[in-house]
């Protein structure tokens, strides 16, 4: 009885490396261990001022915008698309929210006010973000443009649009309820993390409790066959871009709330590349069809842990991009089956050579 159970566990362990999440999770665990060595106390979680506190919580909190964007990106990539305009949409959403709230500091007022109710400002920002997504989606589906080219337009133009909205200035927000989005806590957890988690759960439920998962995989694998089978692939593709921009809009709110300002030029800078990287690290195929939502979240955490690790180890800021690139490269190698096979083969050859030499000596 016991041996049967042990066998089953042994069997499970042996098959573990074949699980698509095994290597992403291993990479994350290795990074966390290194971080704990570089900065003792990295893994310690405490309770301060009625909420969880610690470097780990900080990583989770700061990873929230990237997680959000990467979740949207996962769906787009699974449908054979690509959205490189998410960084610009982050900036647009931040700008819309900041302008609607208004950026004047009145020292005489007892409490800072917003020009419009906070809910309206948020809805406005997210609405504009979704319009951006609709634009991308229609360019891809109706105009038949390559996704990378179609979204390149908004990637470039979006920064300009964000600066038009803010009139070329960096708008500072003084309305404190808005700060709650990026800095607040709910039930001891960072509010931004809760937004990201709820989004992930919503997407997970949509993929598993509705036919969305089946449709996404069939469109991603064979769009022509999916259309012949009656799947409304164009509609679903447009919706994926709209949703991806919505997640970018949410990320824009979190980021601008975090820094209490909207900077059309720098908000969400290079976010599209980090999001694509997070999706790739999580094991989603860029060719479409095969994707992993959980993998994407792990991928986003890997990138944020890397950033935290670089800051914690005191790497000078001038070279931290280079260090990040090297570490990302190492993580990619760890996840590559070809590379691992090469390493194992090399190790076996060495061992064989050593034992042969040993035999000859004796």
């Amino acid at each position: 009885m016991d041996s049967v159970r042990r066998d089953r566990i042994g069997d499970g362990l042996r098959r573990l490396p074949a699980h698509p999440l095994f290597w992403p999770v291993t990479a994350l665990a290795v990074l966390l261990i290194i971080a704990a060595i570089v900065q003792p106390g990295f893994l310690r979680i405490g309770w301060v001022d009625g909420h969880l506190h610690g470097s780990l919580i900080d990583v989770l909190n700061r990873a929230a915008p990237l997680m959000l964007v990467a979740i949207g990106m996962t769906l787009v990539i699974a449908l054979r698309g690509l959205d490189i305009s998410v960084g610009a949409v982050v900036a647009i959403s931040a700008a819309v929210a900041a302008v609607m709230i208004g950026g004047s500091l009145d020292p005489h007022a007892a409490e800072q006010t917003s020009r419009v109710p906070l809910g309206v400002a948020i809805a406005g920002a997210l609405g504009v973000a979704m319009l951006c997504g609709l634009w991308n989606g229609l360019l891809v589906v109706k105009a038949g443009m390559q996704p990378i080219v179609a979204t390149l337009i908004l990637m470039v133009a979006g920064r300009g649009i964000a600066q038009l909205i803010t009139d070329g200035r960096i708008i500072t927000v003084y309305y404190s309820p808005y700060f709650h989005i990026g800095n607040g806590f709910l039930g001891g957890l960072p509010f931004a993390l809760i937004i990201a988690a709820l989004t992930a759960v919503a997407v997970y439920l949509a993929l598993t409790r509705t036919a969305l998962g089946l449709f996404v995989r069939s469109i991603g694998t064979n769009p022509v066959a999916a259309r012949v089978a009656g799947v409304r692939s164009r509609l679903i593709t447009v919706c994926s871009y709209v949703f991806c921009s919505l997640t970018a809009g949410l990320a824009g709110l979190i980021i601008s709330s975090n820094v209490k300002s909207a900077d059309g030029n720098n908000a969400g800078q290079l976010m599209e590349l980090d999001a694509i990287l997070a999706v790739t690290l999580g094991g989603t195929s860029l060719a479409g069809g095969r994707f992993s939502l959980a993998g994407t979240i792990v991928g986003a955490l890997i990138l944020q842990t890397l950033t935290a690790l670089i800051y914690a180890s005191g790497v000078p800021p001038e070279v931290n991009m280079v260090v990040k690139a090297v570490l990302v490269f190492a993580v990619m190698l760890l996840q590559s089956p070809e590379f691992r096979a090469l390493v194992v083969k090399e190790a076996l050859n060495r061992r064989a050579a050593r034992s042969k030499a040993h035999h000859e000596r004796s």
């Binding site: 089946l214 995989r217 069939s218 064979n222 022509v224 999916a226 012949v228 009656g230």
Partner: protein, 486 residues
């Protein structure tokens, strides 16, 4: 299990040798061994008395064994001439820069293709020509590299009758030059038209080598299948004709057409009727199916389904009206290779109901298992990716997908292409059974003999327009006459 077991094959210079067998008989594996894709575990290969061991297709080619595969292995984004000479372009002399001599490339390409009587402009992109021409270019490329053995893996499956004749003329010329040609095909007629000898494989084993003109068709089929096959006829459905005509037609298309694809055409289908669509390649067969199903927008005419007028703007529209289409290209337009048999079967049913309600895994399993059993689909399990199934079983999965939606009108575009004789019979039996139960079926096939055998009524297409209609049981000759008449 062995893919090939103790198989022998003897090719003689100046002969066309047909290799026959059902799917899974080991034809592809044998070709892979001959061309160095796989190494044999036992046995030997000799070329002109010398033992050879090809290690890669390139090595085999250097030894003098060239292969043309069923799917064209050329680059559609290069010109015809570039495709012919890719990898071995004629160069200019070094004192003139040593670059590629493009005028020589094009001149040589023209010469090679003219010799094969293929009339194309060699500087145009390969993609601008139909698959048939691409196939001819692939053959030209293979024969131009001085081959002693030419292997053709189902070269005719996408050619129409004229082009097959053209190909056979080329093969005949090559045969007279002393080349040994191995010809793999599913078409019995073609075996007799061109081959000198036939080798038959079954389940990875050698059945026999025959001289083609001494082998009767019945004997050949029996050798391939291992049992005798009774031809399907649609005698029973024609008896129910009177009952069908009284009910209103399921589908009534008036003057539907699309510029460059199909001239305005009228089509009518009744309950329980099999309407055959016959015509040569390029006659508009597939285009008709695509227009009816809303895959391509029609720019004239209207379609009525059960009396409801209007055009079908998308496949989703057509499916909502009770239509179903098994497309001609099973792999690229039909199945989603990575998805399981179960998921492929429920896809259209789920797509019709939209995102919600979602069919539970249990419901999916029930539907899939019922249809797998009903159609006799052979798969390791219903969770096997459909790409791993044989051609015949893939076709049945596609059929199962549509049967799950319980359609009123089933359009089948070439449902029997590229599948083995036994699976063909099973699918044709299934079609007859469906019509008997009241479904309207539109049966499109390049094999006119099949259309004639199965249909209650036959629409003949010629040059993208309807040439006329014939009653069921009219005979192949009548169809050919209608196609040939001007």
């Amino acid at each position: 299990m062995r893919a090939l077991d103790d198989v022998e094959l003897c090719l003689r210079a100046g002969e066309v040798h047909a290799l026959m067998g059902q799917n899974g008989a080991g034809k592809s594996t044998l070709i892979k061994v001959l061309t160095g894709v796989c190494a044999p575990e036992a046995g030997s290969i000799e070329l002109e008395g010398q033992p050879i061991q090809p290690t890669s297709p390139l090595h085999a080619q250097r030894l003098g064994i060239s292969t043309v595969y069923q799917e064209v292995n050329l680059c559609p984004n290069l010109t015809v001439a570039e495709n012919l000479f890719a990898g071995r372009y004629p160069r200019r002399a070094w004192w003139r820069g040593g670059g590629i001599n493009w005028s020589a490339v094009n001149r040589e390409a023209r010469r090679v293709l003219t010799a094969l009587q293929v009339d194309v402009e060699v500087t145009r992109l390969l993609a601008t020509y139909p698959v048939a021409i691409q196939q001819m270019v692939a053959i030209a490329r293979a024969t131009n590299i001085s081959a002693r053995v030419l292997i053709l893996d189902e070269p005719t499956s996408s050619l129409d009758a004229d082009e097959v004749q053209q190909l056979f003329a080329v093969l005949d010329r090559l045969r007279r030059q002393g080349m040994a040609i191995l010809f793999v095909t599913h078409f019995l007629d073609q075996v007799y038209a061109i081959s000198d000898r036939v080798t038959v494989l079954r389940n990875g084993r050698f059945v026999g080598e025959y001289v083609a003109r001494e082998l009767s068709r019945e004997a050949l089929i029996t050798a391939m299948v291992g049992r005798e096959i009774a031809p399907v006829t649609n005698a029973v459905t024609t008896q129910g004709q009177a009952a069908k005509v009284t009910s209103a037609p399921v589908l009534q298309a008036k003057a539907i057409g699309r510029k460059g694809q199909l001239q305005p055409t009228d089509i009518e289908l009744n309950r329980g009727e099999i309407l055959g669509v016959a015509g040569l390649l390029g006659s508009g067969r597939t285009e008709l199916a695509r227009l009816l199903f809303g895959l391509d927008p029609a720019d004239s005419g209207e379609i009525g389904v059960n009396g409801k007028r209007g055009l079908l703007r998308s496949p989703a529209d057509a499916i909502a009206q009770g239509l179903a289409l098994c497309p001609e290209e099973r792999k690229t337009e039909g199945l989603v290779a990575d998805l399981s048999v179960r998921e492929n079967i429920v896809l259209a049913l789920q797509a019709r109901s939209g995102l919600v309600p979602h069919l539970s895994p249990e419901a999916q399993q029930r539907i899939a298992e019922r249809l797998v059993a009903a159609l006799g689909i052979k798969a390791a399990s219903i969770d096997t990716p459909v790409g791993q199934l044989s051609g015949g079983n893939q076709q049945k999965v596609l059929l199962a997908r549509w049967l799950a939606t319980n359609p009123q009108l089933l359009i089948l575009d070439e449902p029997t292409r590229g599948i083995d004789v036994a699976a063909k019979q099973e699918i044709m039996n299934e079609i007859v059974g469906l019509a008997r139960d009241g479904m309207a079926v539109m049966f499109i096939s390049a094999e006119i003999e099949e259309v004639v055998r199965l249909s209650d009524r036959i629409v003949v297409l010629r040059d993208r327009r309807k040439a006329g209609e014939l009653p069921g049981g009219c005979g192949e000759q009548a169809v050919y006459e209608l196609i040939a008449r001007h």
